[in-house]
Amino acid sequence: MIQVDVQHRLGSFDLKAQFVSEGRVTALFGRSGSGKTSLVNIIGGLIRPDHAYISLDGDVIVDTKHKVFVPKHRRRVGYVFQEGRLFPHLTVRQNLLYGWWFTPAAKRLGQFPQIIELLGIGHLLDRHPRSLSGGEKQRVAIGRALLATPRLLLMDEPLASLDEARKAEILPYLERLYDETKVPIVYVSHSVPEVARLASTIVVMTDGRVVATGPTADIMARLDLIPFTNLVEAGAVLEAEILEHDEKFGLTVLRLCGGRLWVPRLNGQIPGTKVRVHIRARDVMISTRRPEGLSALNVLRGVVAELGPQCGPILDVRLDCGGQAILARLTRRSVETLGLSQGKPVYAVIKTVGFDRQTLGSAFRQANGADTTAIPI
């Protein structure tokens, strides 16, 4: 468990944030300049805060009231920086073993080969950082942090400096990270798809304040938080189970909200596996009658649960589909024409091609935070 209560002034910026998370992957989520990086820098010991109380599993690492400040090299808090920060004068192997070397032998996890394999960096060991691609650099940086046997791993936008292809290359490694190492992670990001795929708990930040903390599915389904996160990518995160693969059309069928959802083929997943689905609000249409003669494959039944605040011509709607929330983004005009109001039964129409690699996770954990008994491939 991580407990954070921080008050710090940086120039004219005022950081006043507190959160408690039991989550295994806690996402600090918010727009650029919301104070996320400052907060992880304080947790990692790179900034000395004015006032703070920070504890990891009950072990106090900062308590300004009682003049406790554990220096960064004794915190055993791993840090994966946005730019990797590999040592240019050392080989990949020496980089990986840097923190390992400073860890007392008794505390080492004894897992160099496992971590190399987990991150797929075995073939890079004798190279120098300058010859690595951005994605390889980040994987080595993650390995280096893990080999120092941290109690907590901080990741500050580790994918932000990478292009889409490199992001897609690393995301699967990040998804497996907690499940295979059991090191809790605090993940800083302003990307909805990343957070939707990786986080078990989300801490939403804006202007140096925490506006909400909770399980991923709950936070992503809240209409009032959309303005603080990302208008374009907003959407519900749901837990689904793979029913079968449709080889003929290259599709996968998921069980979700008491209905079925066709998505592009999920490679390497067997039926029965739980996956996480991020359905962007802008990819969802609403119909008051069961639509027919429609190209969209996915039609789910539900009722209107909440109408969000107006935002120009746009309005977000939360639907309750068999106990799970789906967000839909409509024009105000449509809402009025359809006469949508709380409790009204409707059909949600979701285009299959609206899903891409960004919105379909292979996460083996549920969006509501509980572990699943899914079978990893």
């Binding site: 790179l46 960064k72 090299h73 915190r75 840090y79 004068h89 840097y98 923190g99 120098h128 950082p129």
Partner: protein, 232 residues
């Protein structure tokens, strides 16, 4: 033509010995001062900066005279060191080394300071989060990263020492075999009739030694740069 007289040979050997000592002994304090000037925030920083760079702008004769006042047999520091540690600078080759070290110090510190300023502090932070305390960070990250600066500074300081004349001759005079370095010897030969050939020989040697130092520094700098992946 190219056989050296014992006197000339002594001057060459002395110059190399003096320059090596001056360079090697000024490196540790040079690192400390460069770190202070680059990273430190303290009262009197600009005064320290001024003292370090003063020999660069003062006439060398003035620097030599100040050294004579401070480190001469009756000077406050000279008397203290002689009485307590038996270290004597005045009119000894050690004094020549001190004069060369002081004259080369600003060049050394400047080169070190530039390379320390150029370090990505983020790498040091990263080392800290991996469990290294500040001493280990300095040894395993800072020092290797400023290696090109150390090499450049050392060579500059060595070259400056090889050429140092004014401060040396003022501080420790021009005693053959003890304080007569290459430049002093050349100067002496140009002052006596028929000394031209000897002066020319020593000049050729000075060029060869200085040129080798520069080429060596280029070569080492290239190798280190390639290892760090920072060269063009």
């Amino acid at each position: 033509m190219f056989t050296l007289t014992p006197e000339e040979q002594a001057a060459v050997e002395l110059s190399i010995r003096v320059s090596l000592w001056a360079t090697v002994t000024s490196l540790p304090p040079g690192l400390v001062v460069a770190m202070l000037l680059s990273r430190g925030k303290f009262w009197g920083k600009s005064i320290l900066n001024g003292i370090v760079f003063l020999p660069l702008v003062l006439p060398p004769v003035v620097t030599g005279y100040i050294l004579l006042l401070l480190f001469g047999r009756r000077g406050p520091l000279g008397a203290f060191l002689a009485d307590n540690f038996g270290i004597v600078f005045a009119f000894r080759w050690t004094g020549a080394a001190l004069a060369c070290a002081v004259m080369g110090f600003p060049l050394l510190v400047r080169a070190l300071q530039l390379s320390i300023d150029a370090i990505d502090r983020g790498l040091e932070d990263a080392a800290g989060t991996l469990g290294a305390n500040s001493v280990w960070i300095f040894v395993t990250v800072t020092l290797p990263l400023i290696l090109p600066g150390i090499i450049a500074g050392t060579i500059l300081s060595f070259a400056r020492a090889m050429g140092e004349f004014g401060a040396t001759i003022t501080f420790v005079s021009n005693i053959p075999g003890e304080t007569q370095t290459l430049p002093s010897a050349i100067y002496t030969f140009t002052q006596v009739p028929g000394g031209d050939v000897a002066a020319f020989r020593l000049t050729a040697i000075a060029i060869v030694v200085s040129m080798s130092a520069l080429l060596t520094s280029e070569a080492i700098g290239y190798l280190v740069g390639r290892r760090l992946g920072v060269e063009g």
